[in-house]
């Protein structure tokens, strides 16, 4: 053994010693109090966002300018991240992750107090805002969403009418019949999976709650078997499977294209997609750009009724939070409050306002007419569901499992649907036991 080898070993051994992370836990449990006097709040705050489009076209700057009318001494800077989740996750190992940020899905709820400053108690905020329990830890709220969203089918009204369907389908079977009618009577693709994008399939998890109009649907995921007979996710997944199996989707899902699917839906080449209210504004824009009528874009709830009424789940979009290490917590808090309460962000996005007393956006008019019941699913066990999901590697919040389901339905994967669900159930309930619930 020569000198070089010894050196290499010494260096190697020395390197193995350090290794663990050290995020400072000193600021744990800090509060971001709402400032009393707007004119006294000072500082430059950095706001992290996923809305690259709004940062690029200057819309966010306009909001900031409006904000400065009330808070003249606060300078707001934006940083839009394309790959938000993974980039922020890595940055959160340091103390520099902006002053205001969107809470990434990966952060465990119980860790919120370590990363974010509290915005107040649940009791007090719950009076004014919706969805507060999604970010509540030990009675304190750590985030606030600027908009609420409801999952549903974005569809082209004209195409559906051409196929002779005027009423929303009320059961999965009826929905399939309608799609078949679209296939036989029009040139449109009845349902577009957007398989390649992945996240578009992930959103099928949000059928949870609307199938049985159950505000405690999340608890059932944590305690029960989501793929038991007649359980919400099984109903949704079966509908997706049947749609694919009956050949009611695009010819080659593996090369589907999300950006193209917007104008194609607007023009009536695609009839239906399962997305959320947030998508309406984007599809209408696509319609305007393509020179077709934006009013053709419709929105319908999941085909399931309880007591003759549809149910629509509403939930928060990304929650904004204050970095617990921020040097300008009051300014950051001021931004969040202003952005939620005073800005026109929710209206501009035709979204549901997180303020309890705000009216529904105009696009939801057909919902009101049809008497759709809105429910907020209780998120008390949300953290547990996520941990079971990770533990079991099922991925109800990841695309793989539904991509596999679609592959199964179109015969690119061997097996039966029942076995597929049985395997999911087994893994899920196994992880439930291990997580000690």
């Amino acid at each position: 053994m020569n000198r070089r080898h010894i050196l290499a070993m010494v260096v190697g051994a020395a390197l193995l010693v350090p290794g663990c992370t050290g995020t400072g836990g000193t600021s744990k449990g800090a509060d971001a109090k709402a400032p009393d006097d707007p004119s006294k709040v000072t500082g430059t705050i950095k706001v992290l966002t996923v809305r690259t489009d709004l940062v690029q076209d200057g819309t966010m700057k306009k909001y900031a300018a409006e904000f400065n009318k009330t808070y003249p001494k606060v300078k707001v800077e934006f940083e839009a991240l394309t790959n938000y989740e993974s980039e922020v996750k890595i940055r959160m190992n340091t103390e520099n992750y902006g002053d205001v940020l969107l809470i990434p899905a990966v952060i465990k709820k119980s860790d919120y107090p370590k990363f974010f400053a509290s915005l107040g108690t649940r009791q007090e905020r719950g009076k004014k805002y919706r969805f507060t329990d999604f970010t509540t830890v030990d009675g304190k709220v750590y985030g606030q969403t600027p908009v609420g969203v409801s999952p549903g089918f974005v569809y082209n009204k004209r195409v559906w009418k051409e196929a002779g369907v005027t009423d929303w389908p009320t059961t999965p079977a009826e929905f399939l019949d309608d799609l078949k009618a679209i296939k036989s009577k029009t040139d449109a693709i009845p349902y577009y999976t957007n398989f390649a994008a992945g996240w578009t399939l992930t959103s099928w998890t949000s059928v949870n709650g609307s199938v049985h109009c159950d505000a405690k649907a999340t608890d059932k995921l944590a305690e029960g078997d989501p793929w038991a007979k007649d359980a919400d996710l099984r109903v949704g997944d079966t509908l997706l499977y049947d749609t694919v199996k009956s050949g009611l989707i695009e010819k080659d899902p593996t090369t589907s294209n999300w950006e193209q699917s917007k104008p194609r839906t607007a023009k009536g080449e695609i009839a239906t997609q399962w997305l959320g209210t947030w998508a309406i504004v984007q599809f209408q824009d696509a319609a305007k750009k393509a020179g077709v009528n934006p009013d053709d874009i419709g929105f319908m709830p999941f085909p399931s009724q309880v007591d003759g009424k549809f149910c629509a789940v509403i939930g928060p979009d990304y929650n904004q939070a204050v970095n617990v290490h921020s040097k300008h917590k009051d300014a950051a808090r001021a931004w969040i409050d202003w952005f939620t309460d005073k800005s026109t962000y929710a209206q501009d996005n035709l979204a549901i306002s997180p303020l309890k007393d705000a009216p529904l956006p105009a696009v939801m008019k057909p919902y009101e007419d049809a008497g759709v019941k809105f429910i907020e699913v209780d998120d008390g066990k949300g953290a547990q569901v996520k941990s079971i999901d990770n533990q079991s590697e099922t991925g109800i919040y990841a695309p793989e499992y539904r991509q596999k389901l679609v592959d199964l339905a179109r015969g690119a994967r061997k097996g039966s649907l029942d076995d597929f669900f049985a395997d999911l159930s087994e893994r899920w309930t196994e992880a439930q036991k291990n997580s000690g619930s």
Partner: protein
């Protein structure tokens, strides 16, 4: 590298010593020798610092994480010992993805043969040979992400491939990325397209280092092109071929960017690296993913070692 510099420094130092006047005091000489000993290390500081910071520290960190249940962001992490490694070796579904590497392995055989063929042909006097060299090497210069996107359009329903085929009267109704076999074959095809240029350039360089007289002599002896390839070129470039094979195997085991960008691992195209990435970032099992990465590293080291044993790197001696 270090050894060479050091030895040279030492030798020049030894040569200089007797030349120094005999009654020279001891301390300066010792200091001189010390300085001579240090000099090469001074030059090495920068590369060593970079190497350690960006290669060895991260690997050591990863090895440390692989013994924990860290989720990638939480400040809390528990030491779990070899638990992650036990999990990797007891869950066969984690190893099943290596079958996908088989496609890339098969593709690399095609790739090496094709590269060898083109390199041989273009090493002789062929019209437009420089042009063809450029054409063959060009794909490697394109960024992998761009290639992924280009080929997504290529394989699309009614995309480039379908249009080209229909020019020849073949109207395919085939979803190229639609089934696991077809998707993996297509993706492996893209990887051949991309990496053949590198192998080709390596082979070409090796072939051109073979002295030209050998061909002349062989021709005088009545050897045809095949004989020349069989008895001159093939043995002449054997070390480069061995190297290429090693690179191809490790590349096939760790195939990543083309399948990740084009299909995201859907439809049975997930490779071991994609799976590791999913473990780390989808399911937040950073500890387990680190262990998987270490396992992959060890497998590749092992394959390389076995291969070096089977095909010893003997000297090429043509003359």
């Amino acid at each position: 590298m270090a050894d060479v510099t050091e030895k040279t420094a030492f030798r020049s130092g030894a040569g200089a010593a007797p030349a120094a006047p005999a009654p020279a005091p001891a301390p300066p000489r010792r200091r001189l020798r010390l300085r001579r000993g240090i000099t090469p290390w001074l030059f090495l500081i920068a590369p060593l610092a970079l190497l350690i910071t960006f290669t060895y520290v991260p690997i050591a960190n990863m090895a440390a994480y692989s013994l924990t249940d860290w989720d990638g962001v939480s400040p809390e992490l528990n030491y779990t010992g070899v638990g992650n490694y036990t999990e990797i070796f007891t869950r066969e579904d984690l190893f099943r993805v290596f079958f996908v590497s088989g496609y890339y392995l098969a593709a690399s055989v095609v790739q090496i043969v094709a590269a060898l063929y083109f390199a041989t042909i273009l090493s002789f006097n062929v019209r437009f040979r420089n042009f063809f060299k450029g054409v063959l090497f060009f794909p490697y210069l394109i960024n992998g992400v761009a290639i992924g996107f280009v080929f997504l359009y290529f394989f699309q329903d009614g995309g480039t491939l379908d249009s080209v085929l229909s020019l020849f009267g073949y109207h395919s109704d085939h979803a190229w990325l639609g089934t696991p076999v077809s998707a993996n074959t297509s993706l492996a095809g893209v990887s051949v397209w991309r990496y053949m240029g590198v192998n080709f350039v390596l082979f070409l360089g090796a072939i051109q280092s073979i002295p030209g007289e050998l061909y002349e002599a062989a021709e005088l002896d009545g050897a045809n092109r095949w004989h020349q390839f069989r008895y001159i070129i093939a043995p002449g470039i054997k070390p480069v071929v061995t190297l290429t094979v090693i690179l191809s195997i490790s590349g096939s085991l760790s195939a990543f960017e083309i399948p990740y960008i084009m299909t995201g691992g859907a439809t049975g195209t997930a490779t071991f690296v994609i799976q590791t990435l999913n473990l780390a970032f989808r399911f937040n099992k950073t500890g387990l993913a680190s262990a998987a990465a270490i396992v992959l590293l060890l497998i590749i080291l092992l394959v390389t070692w076995v291969q070096r044993r089977l095909v010893p790197d003997d000297r090429v001696d043509l003359v």
